[in-house]
Symmetry: C2
């Protein structure tokens, strides 16, 4: 029995079981992992009523506790959402398998053949908030990439997560994979998150999924590696050479398609050489966006004044800060100072300027003539994503199956010894 | 002026200057970085007398302080060693440049073209002990890969490191690269290492180079990512099918070529089906190696008894623990339990068994019919190495230029917006 009174011991026990399961998963064929996911998909579909009943309990409790409508919406499941969750698992099962991929091979002068081969990372901790679908999404991505998952969902979704987890494991079981490959940490123990973050060597990687508070806590406390992004303070720079229609459309889309996503534009930079800056501000205002401008913007547009904090603010709302800049150099300097390193874009017809922007902006994703809202694993062709990373090591931008692998060196010799 | 009384402020100031230099380096052409290294090589050669004089001061001080002969040998430079250091810089200048390499490109159905392009990591901290050549080696690898380096060498080598650093920076200066690209932390401030390890967001990666004490401290304290290995508890498993001559030669070489390197074998596992296990033990004994055997080994060889701690010990000496195992399963179980994840090898003629070993041993380097002593960036064809990593993320095994880079996503569109 795990000692749930001692969170360190509980997590150590779960991680040890996860490690054994991970070794088993790493040895599975692609087909075994694929079919386990398809069995999990079926099990989730079959358990739909049970999952919805569990979710109703969570929602009722959350309502009583006075959660906001937005939080309730993230929490709430219906038949379509459960079906979508199951379909998501099936999609992951169709993705190319990175495990076993040979990254490169070299034959040394002494005949030793060396290859780098992709292998699973091992044990992945996922710490998330109210959306119960993360339980299924994260489990599917981890299992498909040969990793064991230790899931810690939000307490408000505990019944839903448990029901989804039960169904997922039933699927693993039918496919003869160890159910320890996907373990769910109970939410009664608030110290469990701390124990996960401290589990150096036992948990190989933690991925937080949720609001800024959660991500900030994970980044501040973690002793294990973390893949995450804290902020998406994303910029669109409209260069003097930009096509006006394209610029207006990208600006509108980057800000207003969805204001609450991490890929949304938060700051618009307009080149002082751009012929009609007022049209860009108007495009935002007409779409229902509040604009906060610098002095040069307010000289031609009747908008609120941006203060110093605006340039470092992720609004996640229909608000945009707008600044005039003198050319690409000033745009680059502004971005270097204020970008959170997530996604920044340039709209320009001038290829030389665009290439400079692409080369010099030091963000995970840099786009030319495209909306920042494309920052998403699905849109990038990865089929799914475990998250978007703005750190500098291992994986950047949208992270999916490949980002959940590492590599080892395999050497094949014929008796070589070193002289 | 940097406030050397406040190590946090001092490191923050150095890291900020390093970041600016890193941005400049990242924009340099390959040729600029190459020629900067060649200028540094020339400067080191020209400063040879000065470096040797500084080294003589360090050595005299170290002798007076009673350092061991082994430590004095690591510290001591002569003309040949200085020339070797300069030649090492020149070698790094000839390596393929990973910066700008396009890892992959995909064109999405909407026409958006997405590429992953290698970029430098940014600011790398190197914390090392007595060998002064690390000053030049690490600086060369960082500059060639477009990174700025913050170097913290051992206090016993402070004069030597300062002289080498001065010469290296003179070379950067001649090549018009910022000297802030390679900064040396003074050794008078013992708290500087702690400040480097705490510099989350300011230093992107720390690489410790030195003994186990240093690496353990760095791994325990660091809030920034670390690439390192703590131990090289490496195994050679001789399978029943192994060619006896090959097995004896690999065993002898893996242990005795150099006993003090991290790639040395520490434990020999002999399959109980192997025809002549005594010959393998004799090969070690004849080469001057002390053997500690389990009961089954001591039944045929008159050697000391291994105790439980032996299987987890990195001797770095002419000592080897030897155990008999029943087949590859038991070998895999022993390795899973005791390996430090550095380098493990199998000697076998049976390809099926060898492939199982290569697939299932979860170490950074797994070898078939080759000596573990090949675990080295030079031997792997990387031209050099900043170190060997046994962690699971970013880079494993020997780490050289590519391991000092990350990637970003570059997207080229024609006005795409997300629906």
């Amino acid at each position: 029995m795990l000692d749930t009174q001692n969170p360190q011991a509980m997590i150590a026990g779960m991680a040890a079981a996860a490690r054994r399961a991970a070794h088993q998963l790493a040895r599975c064929s692609t087909d075994q992992r694929r079919s386990a996911l398809l069995r999990a998909e079926e099990a989730i579909r079959a358990a739909s009523a049970e999952i919805l009943a569990a979710n109703a309990t969570d929602v009722a409790r959350a309502k009583a506790a006075g959660l906001t409508d937005a939080m309730l919406d993230r929490l709430r499941l219906d038949e379509a959402r459960v079906a979508g969750m199951a379909a998501g698992i099936a999609t992951v099962a169709t993705l190319p398998d990175p495990v076993g991929e040979v990254i490169d091979t070299t034959v040394r002068p002494n005949g030793l053949e060396l290859s780098r081969v992709r292998v699973p990372i091992g044990v992945i901790g996922i710490i998330y908030e109210s959306r119960p679908n993360v339980t299924a999404d994260a489990a599917a991505l981890c299992v498909m990439s040969g990793n064991a998952a230790i899931l810690r969902g939000g307490s408000e979704a505990s019944e839903s997560n448990a029901a989804i987890h039960r169904a997922f494991c039933a699927g693993l079981n039918v496919a003869d994979l160890p159910t320890d490959a996907v373990q769910l940490v109970g939410t009664t123990d608030r110290a469990a998150v701390g124990a996960m973050l401290a589990a150096q060597g036992a948990i190989d990687l933690v991925v937080p999924r949720g609001g800024k508070g959660l991500v900030a806590r994970v980044q501040a406390e973690a002793r294990v590696p973390v893949l995450a992004h804290l902020d998406g303070i994303n910029h669109v720079f409209v260069h003097a050479s930009a096509d006006p229609d394209m610029a207006a459309e990208i600006v509108r889309n980057a800000k207003m398609r969805r204001t609450g996503v991490c890929g949304a534009m938060e700051t618009l930079l307009i080149d002082s050489g751009y012929p009609d800056p007022a049209a860009l501000v108007r495009a935002l205002l007409d779409a229902g966006c509040a604009v906060r401008g610098d002095d040069r913007v307010r000289a031609f547009a009747s908008v609120a004044a941006a203060d110093a904090a605006d340039w470092d603010t992720e609004y996640l709302d229909a608000i945009c800060s707008v600044a005039m800049v003198d050319g690409v150099d000033e745009a680059l300097a502004h971005i270097a100072r204020h970008s959170s390193g997530h996604t920044d874009a340039i709209v320009a017809a001038d290829e030389g300027v665009a290439n400079r922007f692409l080369a010099e902006v030091d963000s995970a994703i840099v786009l030319w003539n495209a909306s920042t809202q494309f920052a998403d694993g699905g849109e990038f062709g990865l089929g799914a994503e475990i998250g978007i990373a703005t750190g500098r090591l291992h994986a950047r931008g949208p992270v999916a199956l490949e980002g959940l692998t590492t590599y080892k060196w395999i050497g094949r010799g014929t008796g070589q010894v070193r002289s």
